[in-house]
Subunit: 353 residues, 4 copies
């Protein structure tokens, strides 16, 4: 209960100021020659300290596999892994150990569990996503080789990448610090984030993810619709506030006559407002979706708040925080999507006699 | 696997032209005096033929409980129920039995399962939601009595209910055919739907759902965040294209300084851009979210399409279909939310020693 | 939670004096031409009133499929079914409605749920097993055709079928009322049961089940070992008190030198004390196991007992009860085993890349 | 899938010659002051090298908790832990790397996964049970303090502890090397095991486990019966061949008149052939069960076998192996039972409104 995946499952643990993060992947098929460098590469894309516009915290974020892989191949038994925490500056949190930070989980954890790890976010820290990147980048390797999963930052604050995804060259996504493949927009976004950072403020944005060459048939009819499984996964990302796929919220303004995707004779469709999914099942067209991220709550400016007893206090973010979570969230979205797809891809192999 | 809920679970069956729909609710606590009229009332709100702006199909949609309730009380054992299908006009579908309807699930089901129930939507039909309404309206009775779950149509096409939900009187939601509590907007929406219906077209829209008085602590830290569980449930609704909660996609344009919800001394917050959820856990403020629905795909106009062999065909919706699914989706959203909340509410009772 | 199976799952409902039993089978692969007569045949083998040595209660036990099967083939969507209750003589239970019957579940249900369906066993009735027979006999059809699952009554009270299963002709199992394929032993068993019945008493026994031609590889390494899944299923049968496979409890008296099964060059083994399972995984040899059943608790003789308030009362079984549950349990064991095997068989298809 | 537990779950990883074992316990309630010494004490009871009659392999088997516990209390978030492997003498296995050992899982793993960790048992090693001891000894602390779970060796080969458990002093169990609380029987058992060891042979036996003071109501009516959950757990232990509870296989020889447990006025029962469970639910009497263990397959004598290609080979166990697994299995049975009970105990809190 409360794992990721249905057949292929990920169970995770870890807190921001604990000893280590880690997870167990169950039911990974045997015999896959795994590319562990690819896993570490994805972790490196997520890790802090990569550029001027993300947190300057340094963590090596090295994954260590403890089981399930032998002589470079998966053995079919559970894959256990850990990522050790380093460089936890618990002292950075002394000042907030008694306060509830606005729009953080301090209050709700305290209420729910009757206990709070005051050294930082504890379990609510987005550092949990290291586990997902490990599991997702392994799971990606279960999908047919030609399946491409590309996410990119499609907006930062009010700055939107106006080009449709079809006009973007995803090989450029990592060529700039903000991970928007359109160079011009990227420049504006970076400038905006630098400005925000200088103010000790933070800013939100959206990530668009495009999946190409997904086989037809992925997704389950009722409580395992492809879009629902993707939404669940994405809405578990710490700052996610919204999810839409295909025409999304815009589609809600349209009429059926304009929204329906007419078929070509090869069963592709002339348009793709459906976002590659019909009845919860992939139809062979591009699957694309968009995730909204709020500005992260830790700002380096004084804010009024309360402590555990309801006394007024002033909190001020210290330490090394991201002014904008978006660039680092790109590999999170991609690898989380990969895990969801690999799970449903495996299951689909059992749906016909 | 592929049930709704984690501890309190709903397993369902049924196809649009089969004998019956039904489901099993597992782990429903014993000893609850259940209001079965309330269940039937919710089904009646969902059923076709209620007004001029929904499908004129007539089905009594009467639920029959087969187990788990004895002398008006739940016994703690599985609650089985059925809703018989009536009035299936399979003939209405003869004309499309060989064709793949645009933006329907005909093609994907055929590809996935190698078999297609050509009598209509089969398993892909939104009639499946009768099961959810039954289960959700029972589950609602597990929540503290003061928890209020109110959904309403917040937009139809380009017509939006501009008032914030705080200014609406939810007791008015059912007072008009479109289920928008603002009479003036409702009128416009109804007019628009009638227009669309006359054209044989369909139209999309959004539903907003507001949950009041939810206790603090509902939702799980990592893969069971309250917003993720709600998103998963909502994105399983047949025409849903998007989900957002709290500030949602708008929040992605904001900065942290403006987005953070400052605490009052009673731990309520001055603003509620968080949508009543921090770190995946309810914080006692209103939980609110919005679901986007596409225009349904069956339009009563000729459309070009293909058959199973890729031959060009013309399809034209016949039968009795909804020009706008939104009014009937209001009870679906509410009761589905109720089920999700009841499941997490029960689980929360186990999270402290 | 609390379903049968891991991927292929069965969720059930029903009480002995309720309206109907039924279940939902999820994730049954599409495209299987199902033999529904075979299902009804298995139900008929289980049903009461078949012979002089079982209960004379009459129920037609007709299964009705409500979904998931179209034109004789599975569609891949949930298979819903019901078996209506008939001939419930609730009056038979009036005399015990206030009493706790010895070695029944009256007391524990009352304590656990705070409510008791005094019309009979309610949920604790073994009539629940009709659901398992339906699901198991369908699931059996998913296994390779040459897989044979044969159970038989191997002891009644002190009367044991001394022949090893290899010397028995399973085609004879149903040729006598007690379902022991050895005619001579069967006769003794039947005589013993008749004697017991005359006394208003009941008697226990064991069932042995033999699975031939099971492919190698079925079962999961750690928490899904084949023997553990079989044990779990069998120990859920109402009167089951023990489970052993291969050498079982006798094996516990042996030494490794004598117990080890040496390989032939074709990887079969010279002996089969392992019971066809190594490390939780089938090895291609016969899988065989034995289930112990207690004498059922309802005897047609006065017994001292207590009521809800602890007052002494005398209870005396009335109605139509089995003097020996074993003959009717044979199809239960076989079909339950079939379900477990089909589930693990499907899963095994995903364990290699 | 393939975890231990339903709500409180344990997911595990590890292979005998890998880097580490470990696990994740999900949904452990927050706020429990945990006794970690008690956990290590249980591990010490299980570890090799404790006495002359178990393997002389030395491993410190030190558990390291990585998350979920803060300042001595559980936080409600997943508890991750590892136990590092030390002292793996992979060389001990060189001689068998090409051979299939009789009654081991070499052949079945190779067939199932197409890959074999030839360094030893790999995933099939009983070293996996370290994980269960950690999880179970933590879970034990969730049960009411007066719940006592005592297992002991009740037979070794043909030597049985003839005394009923009621006449045994469980505080004596650990006072001898074989863990039988009856000193006289223990002596005989130890002598027998030493003899067997000298021969390079191994021997089987049984463990009896007695649970006192379990609250009434633990266990679920249909697919979560207490005995079924215990059976499943126990039958996952590597050498387990059989499980029985209460009267068990002996009960199968009895008649109802003799087998029924009559009530006292305080709802205790005069006898307890039921083994403390009625209808799958604990009734407040002692729960007791017995597990049969085969002699372990590794014997230090030459045996004929085959290699991967079906060629005849001779294998001879080397290294340090247990002549009798029973003494070390006592803490495994106890802690595994504790986990099962804690899971069902928590769930029971949700079964009434």
């Amino acid at each position: 209960m409360f794992n990721l995946g249905n057949f292929l499952t990920l169970s995770t643990f870890g807190e921001s100021h604990g000893i280590a993060y880690g997870g167990i992947i169950n039911n990974f098929p045997a015999g896959l020659e795994v590319d562990l460098d690819a896993v570490q590469h994805q972790l490196d894309r997520r890790k802090p300290g990569q550029s001027a516009i993300v947190t300057q915290r340094k963590e090596s974020d090295t994954v260590k596999f403890l089981s399930g892989i032998f002589e470079g191949k998966t053995t079919g038994t559970p894959i256990g892994f850990t990522i050790e925490n380093e460089n936890q500056k618990s002292k950075d949190y002394d000042h907030i150990s008694q306060a509830y930070r606005p729009s953080h989980a301090d209050f709700t954890y305290d209420q729910k569990f009757g206990i709070r790890d005051y050294r930082g976010g504890g379990k609510s820290s987005a550092r949990e996503t290291v586990n997902w990147v490990v599991a997702g980048s392994l799971a990606k390797q279960l999908l047919p080789e030609n399946v491409e999963i590309n996410a990119y930052v499609s907006s930062v604050g009010e700055i939107f990448c106006e080009k449709p995804y079809q006009d973007l060259d995803f090989s450029k996504t990592d060529s700039n610090d903000v991970r928007c493949p359109d160079a011009e927009t990227a420049e504006k976004m970076i400038a905006r984030i630098k400005e925000i950072k200088k103010e000790g403020n933070t800013i939100g944005g959206t990530i668009t993810c495009v999946i190409k060459n997904l086989p037809v048939g992925i997704g389950e009819p009722v409580f395992g619709k492809l879009q629902a499984e993707l939404a669940k996964a994405m809405m578990n990302i710490n700052a996610a506030k919204g999810f839409e796929y295909g025409s999304g919220f815009c589609g809600a303004k349209m009429t059926g006559k304009d929204h329906n995707d007419l078929f070509n004779q090869d069963f592709s469709t002339k348009t793709n407002l459906s976002g590659g999914i019909q009845g919860g099942i992939s139809n062979g067209m591009d699957v694309y979706f968009r995730v909204a991220f709020k500005p992260i709550a830790t700002i380096l400016r004084p804010q009024e708040s309360v402590d555990k007893d309801g006394n007024s206090v002033t909190v001020e973010g210290k330490g090394r925080h991201d002014p904008c979570v978006l660039p680092r969230a790109v590999p999170i979205v991609e690898n989380l999507a990969a895990f969801v797809l690999a799970d449903l891809f495996l299951i689909n192999r059992l749906r016909r006699i």
